[in-house]
Structure formats: structure tokens, C-alpha cells
Symmetry: C2
């Protein structure tokens, strides 16, 4: 528990929740591989998490399943990268680093969400697992948004995180194939961006 | 319209939406006055926007109105600071800079949201106005979350943005009084944090 909370007189439940918020502030210091749109620096995971929520609100009409629970999509997107606080960000195209990723992140989820009141711990872990399992319409749309976002940024900033790692177009196609299950329109955007990236040699 | 979009073959509507997303990426470069929890640097508005959404999900039970529309709260919080892209961030306690703030931000809102399809433009401007008007339960809860967040961060990071500007406890009380209308529990947290800040001379 953060030392501040020992100085306050709040319920145990509220203290646990505030402590969780103070701990998750660390997401602002998890640096991702990809760059922001103007290419001036890499982004951090807190910024990315905000952006995928804004994109969800803006692109909501493109979910494949029309009666989607948008609040649940947003909950998943807000929470799903918090595990990086302990597990770190793993670059999508780093095959080696992706081995054991789920198990590491699951330990991180249990540690981080385990500090919350029991009901919220279960709710947040369930949402995280739903996002990872990609077998509900909400999880599929959330994953589509999460995957297209850095791809779109790379498409306008010179693809620095791709070129420095020598990412191939066929890798991108394989790793982003899941978009097709979440949204026809975002899939169409992806295929056009992929062609653009090949034409401009952003991807090998 | 971003030059990338001229190279793609998408609907006018989808192009406008993608253009909006690329433009709003600039929120990652709007620097706020307050520091992140560990005090190592100031935060940017994209990070702040993510954090207030996470706090909303974690503190949702504390909304004064129990049947609150949580999705609308989150929509307001995701969108309300986008106006800072053109209008800049205005420090809550800088009385001079706050003169004309609403009018500046309204122009910014019209410019930014005006690039979206007509229906979304109206939806997003309405949500921004609702947040600013603070007369629905959703707007009051959203404002409570938005105000307590930097106050909480200042309470744990030494209050650097307060001390460098010589912020007084009575100013904080006045500017954060609106929290009481949104949440009893968050108001209680604020009053305890205010006492703590006075005791530790974080506020004058």
C-alpha cells in the first residue's frame, strides 16, 4: 500500500482502489517500440491506451457485430495493457520475445489486479482474459482496433519501428490477420495500408 | 486531409474519421503543468485522458447518481481535452489564463470536431458541451474524476506544480468544489488530501 494511504482515513476498499491507481500510473513509463504520428519519439503505453479508446468511439460503426457492447470493448482496451507494468511491452514482430508472453502477462495481471477488492479483481482479470482469448465480438473488435493503431501510425511516420527491426509484409499480414474477424472496414484499411507500406518499402 | 488518405481508396466518411485520428495524435504532445506520480516529469494530456478513464472504471460505484450512463461518462472524458490540441492546456490555478478559456476551447472544438462526418461532429461537440456545462449526473461525475486526478498525483509527488505556482489551499477548495456534486466518496478523499497537502505545505 502506498504510504500516502496510511495517512488517510478511508475504507479498506477505497484505499485498495486508490493504491491501484497510483501503481498503474507507471504505465506512462512503459515505452512501446512504435513512434507517434509525427515520428518525433516513441510512444508510451498510456498514450496508446487512450488512443485506442478514441479510435473505438470514432470507428464504433465498423464493428462486425452490430449490437456490440461498446462499454465492454472500452473496458478491455483500458485494462489490457496494464500487465505491461510488470511484464514490459513486447514488440509484436519479435518472435523470440513473444515466447511465454501470455504466461508472463498472466502473472502480471494476477499481481496487479490482485491488489484490488475481490469483485473488481475478478472483473478486471475476466476482461483481460476475454481480450486475450479473442472469441467474443467485443474482444475481436477491441483486438482489431489495438492492431490497426500502431500500423496506421507507422504508415504515416516512415515506419521507423518496422525498418529498424526489418519487419516483413508477410509477418504483418500474419500478425494482423485477426482484424478481419473484428471489422470488414478496418480490414480493408489494413490491406490498403499494407500495399502502401510495400510500395514505399516501409515493410520488406 | 492527411496526404496518406489521398493514396487510399476509402469512403469519404471513413477518410474523415481516419484524418481525425491522425490529427488528434497531437494530444500526446500537449504538456500539462502537473507531474506524473513519481515526480520525474510532467505528464501529457493523452496520458491524463487514459488515466481518468481508468479511474472512472475503478471508482464507478462512487458516482452520486447510481444509475449513471458510464459509457457517456467515458465518452466525455475521452473527448473533453482534445480541444487542447489547438487551445493548449490551461493550468487550473492560473486565473489570468482562464479568462476566455471556454471561448477559445469552443473554437478549437468546432475546428477539430468539424472535420468529422456531420453526425459525429454533432455527437462529439454535444458531449464536450455537456462536460463543460456540468449539469447532468454524468458530467458531474466526469468532472469529479477529472479534478481529483491531478490533485491525487500532486499529493504523492511533492506537489511540484503547486509549489512552483504558489497555489493556495483556498484556491484548491474553490476550484475543486464541484467534486462534491459528483461523488460523496471522492469529495471525502479530496478533503482529506487537502488537509494532507496543508500539513505538508504542498499548498500555501
Amino acid at each position: 500500500m502506498h504510504s500516502l494511504l496510511n495517512k488517510l482515513n478511508l475504507t479498506e476498499r477505497f484505499s485498495q482502489q486508490i493504491n491501484f491507481i497510483l501503481e498503474t500510473d507507471k504505465l506512462k513509463q512503459v515505452i512501446r517500440r512504435n513512434f507517434i504520428a509525427d515520428g518525433s519519439r516513441r510512444e508510451n503505453t498510456a498514450e496508446h491506451s487512450w488512443q485506442i479508446i478514441l479510435i473505438t468511439l470514432t470507428f464504433s460503426e465498423y464493428a462486425k457485430e452490430k449490437n456490440i457492447d461498446l462499454l465492454r470493448v472500452i473496458k478491455m482496451l483500458t485494462l489490457h495493457d496494464l500487465v505491461e507494468i510488470y511484464a514490459g511491452d513486447v514488440f509484436l514482430f519479435d518472435e523470440q520475445a513473444n515466447i511465454g508472453k501470455f504466461e508472463n502477462e498472466k502473472l502480471s495481471a494476477e499481481k496487479l489486479f490482485g491488489s484490488l477488492p475481490e469483485d473488481q479483481k475478478h472483473e478486471f482479470i475476466s476482461l483481460w482474459l476475454e481480450f486475450e482469448a479473442t472469441n467474443t465480438p467485443e474482444a475481436l473488435f477491441a483486438n482489431a482496433i489495438d492492431r490497426i493503431t500502431p500500423f496506421l501510425l507507422n504508415s504515416v511516420n516512415g515506419g521507423q519501428s518496422w525498418t529498424e527491426a526489418g519487419v516483413k509484409a508477410e509477418q504483418a499480414l500474419k500478425k494482423l490477420a485477426i482484424i478481419e474477424q473484428g471489422s470488414d472496414e478496418i480490414w480493408e484499411l489494413f490491406t490498403q495500408l499494407l500495399e502502401h507500406a510495400k510500395t514505399h518499402q516501409l515493410l520488406l
